[in-house]
Symmetry: C2
Subunit: 460 residues, 2 copies
């Protein structure tokens, strides 16, 4: 059911310049599907197609276009078309477009706005990127508390066309101070003679402020299952409205940021494929170099144990196996804890409960891997027909080290995010690779310490 544009046929119609057929076809299409089609065709044909759109869906289609296509159309369309689009766009989508454009281009475009829209655009652009102000629309509908529902319905029919949402309308006092909201449900279910003040939910209202972080708005929408939330200034005056459709995008952005941080990359500001190569390398190099410098300690640790290594070169053979197991178990623990923290399932206060679980998990997981490791060493010696008691000791060294390292990995992996959070830092920032590096270094120390205990007088 979800739109998959029939590209080959469309392609044919475009190539044969069959514009009237295209125009007929487009009448049945949704703006979002039209936008996808236009984004998919070469830039030099985008404007031709865009001009074929029914006038009433052109602006909405434009809002759905990605930034590159929007910019291309702004260049290719006539000044008259551009003026119409910019003035009829939703204020929040226009803000998003203007903030992406180079300053000089944005300044030129803003001049095309009517005085009213100009004022709105200036106000919204003044809010910081990532703030609620950038998402909000000043087009809402407000009513007075002593109006009847019948009057409200009439007011909506007359003045509602411009409003960003009609799912919620707002009741204000004579000075514009927000005193309550009417959800459309209550409006529709109420008899016509009731007063606004009888159906508003004044006390229990949830509001946002324009300077709040968009993440806070997302949390409020999730918590209260709202379709729209009012934005007020510090004195409680209504200045705008944020709608839930913008929230799924905010959620997606936040998730991408989390995942990228988690994978040890600074969050990219643009899609992977659009980020300039140099910037992409920079964002990755920072953490790679930090981790590399940390990992250098492994070389120092190994140098410290060089005496043991020279005597029992076989020990070197198992180093990658052992330290990577610590890293993997640490990453697992960090993943679980970071996610639980961000969903609010656990908090810093639960650290001891988490620690207990992870000690138990670490012992069990270490036991499993340690047993496999022990078995592998002995089996290997048997197959190569080199079996002797020394191999049992080597196997035990590997097995016991694995228990210790996996245990240490789970503890470090689970406690580091809690510690970062306690210090007021973001627990997701590179935790998994950082834990892996930490465990690599300490893993070598654990391994050689176990070895020198087990193999003293035998190999060492």
């Amino acid at each position: 059911m979800i739109g998959t544009p029939i590209l080959p046929e469309i392609r044919e119609l475009i190539e044969t310049r069959n514009f009237s057929s295209l125009q007929r076809l487009f009448n049945d299409w949704l703006p979002v599907d039209l936008a996808e089609l236009i984004s998919d065709i070469p830039e030099n044909e985008q404007a031709i197609l865009f001009r074929l759109l029914p006038r009433d869906v052109a602006t909405e289609t434009f809002e759905y276009l990605d930034f590159d296509a929007q910019r291309n159309l702004l260049d290719a369309l006539t000044k008259k078309d551009v003026t119409h689009i910019l003035n009829s766009m939703s204020a929040d989508d226009r803000t998003a477009l203007l903030e992406e454009l180079p300053g000089t281009v944005a300044q030129e475009l803003i001049k095309l706005l009517t005085f009213k829209e100009f004022k709105i655009a200036k106000t919204l652009l003044a809010y910081a990127e990532g703030s609620v102000g950038r998402l909000m629309s000043p087009d809402y509908l407000s009513v007075k508390k002593d109006w009847t529902i019948e009057k409200v319905l009439g007011h909506i029919r007359t003045f509602g066309h411009e409003s960003e949402t009609l799912n919620v309308i707002y009741a204000v006092d004579d000075h514009g101070k927000l005193i309550g909201e009417i959800v459309v449900r209550d409006l529709l279910l109420s008899t016509l003679d009731r007063k606004v003040e009888e159906i508003i939910s004044g006390e229990k209202m949830i509001t946002l402020t324009a300077t709040q972080d968009q993440k806070d708005a997302l949390d409020a929408f999730k918590r209260y299952d709202k379709v729209a939330l009012p934005v007020v200034d510090s004195n409680g005056y209504l200045i705008g409205v944020v709608t839930v459709d913008d929230m799924l995008d905010v959620a997606e952005e936040e998730e991408t940021e989390d995942i990228q941080k988690f994978g040890g990359i600074e969050a990219l500001e643009e899609p992977y494929i659009d980020v300039p190569l140099v910037q992409l390398v920079k964002k990755r190099a920072v953490w790679l170099v930090v981790l590399f410098l940390g990992e250098m300690l492994t070389a120092s640790a190994m140098t410290y144990f060089q005496g043991e290594l020279e005597k029992a070169i076989v020990l070197a053979t198992f180093i990658p196996l052992i330290i990577s197991s610590g890293g993997n178990s640490g990453s697992q623990a960090a993943t679980l804890i970071i996610r639980s923290l961000s969903l609010g399932e656990i908090s810093i206060r639960d650290w001891w409960q988490v620690m207990r679980r992870e000690i138990m998990s670490g012992l069990m997981l270490g036991g499993i891997l340690g047993s496999i490791g022990l078995f592998r060493v002995i089996l290997w010696a048997l197959i190569l027909n080199r079996f002797s008691f020394v191999w049992v000791l080597i196997g035990l060294t590997v097995g016991i080290s694995l228990v210790g390292i996996v245990l240490w990995g789970t503890i470090a992996g689970s406690m580091l995010p809690l510690l970062l959070k306690r210090l007021g830092l973001d627990p997701a920032t590179s935790s998994a690779p950082f834990v892996a590096t930490l465990v690599d270094v300490t893993g070598i120390v654990i391994y050689f310490t176990v070895a020198s205990l087990m193999l003293r007088g035998v190999l060492l």
Copy 2:
């Protein structure tokens, strides 16, 4: 603004059994905040508090409670209260509760439902877990196409109270077949004498089916910015409605699953802190063991190069540093590509473009790390006053290996998710740790190959 219950005061009121004050206080609270309070207090007091709630918000509060608190209340409340709650709950929330309960308990509870609600519950529970059917509500409002808007508004006032949403109502033909939808916006803006058929958007309607995956529903909501979508059967008959408030939860679940898979854990079905320890260990052990078995190949590779190792023990010192750099760069690349794939920014067709970017990135990142590595080896030798030309060769071995391994890591990390996707598998499944293991094994081969070329006749 977002609810933070004033717990100490509440605690005092509960302890002093000051129920009338509590009751007055609760009148101003939102159901979601009441639910949080009830979830936070000890189980034996939950029922006492719950009974104080105003009757009109009790059921909604119950819907917001977590599963443990819901179950506790079902045990503690009277049969009459339980019957009332179960019959007045939203059908979709009730389905979610019943599916969590043990079969016998659910059977007992279903018996308390009225015949109408019983039929609804049975129908919804018949749909598979994770399907749209489990999210949908059969409580929607439908109208005929020849009705006037005035008649529709009257119909809503009379029959709309039970409907899950009034943001969209549906037009059906005489047989119940869906022919169009009316969004509340159009309803409110339309003059009273217009007909339903004049304002419905029949052609462009997006519908879901009950057997579809919830992920598909999420994609449709995101793509089309809808607040509700109709669910139809295979013949196009309207059978239910899904609302956007359930979608933020679906998005959260999907994200958690992705992140857990990504961290090399099978997705948990419950919050981290609630999963039984044995199950938690099982979910983690599977991938840890698989990765461990893969990583065993590093030991085999090292055994193969044992001759070189014995001659130049210093080579062992840099193994963890070198292979972990490959793993880190591979994880970064995998993270970026998996996320871009899941956001639809890139597709399998773009593999060559991705490959080109990653070859360039890999060379640059490898160059950075390789230079640091070379510098570190030479500096180390100088500090230890052991510098000789051999150390330059060792430094070059480390540096060149790093370029090769980081390059290989970025290529493997970026291509593996695309390959998995091409094979119809989920690209997120353990890609990052799997890439790290793959790169560890090949990293050793690359390192010793470079070493035998650089150091032949000197150390080897």
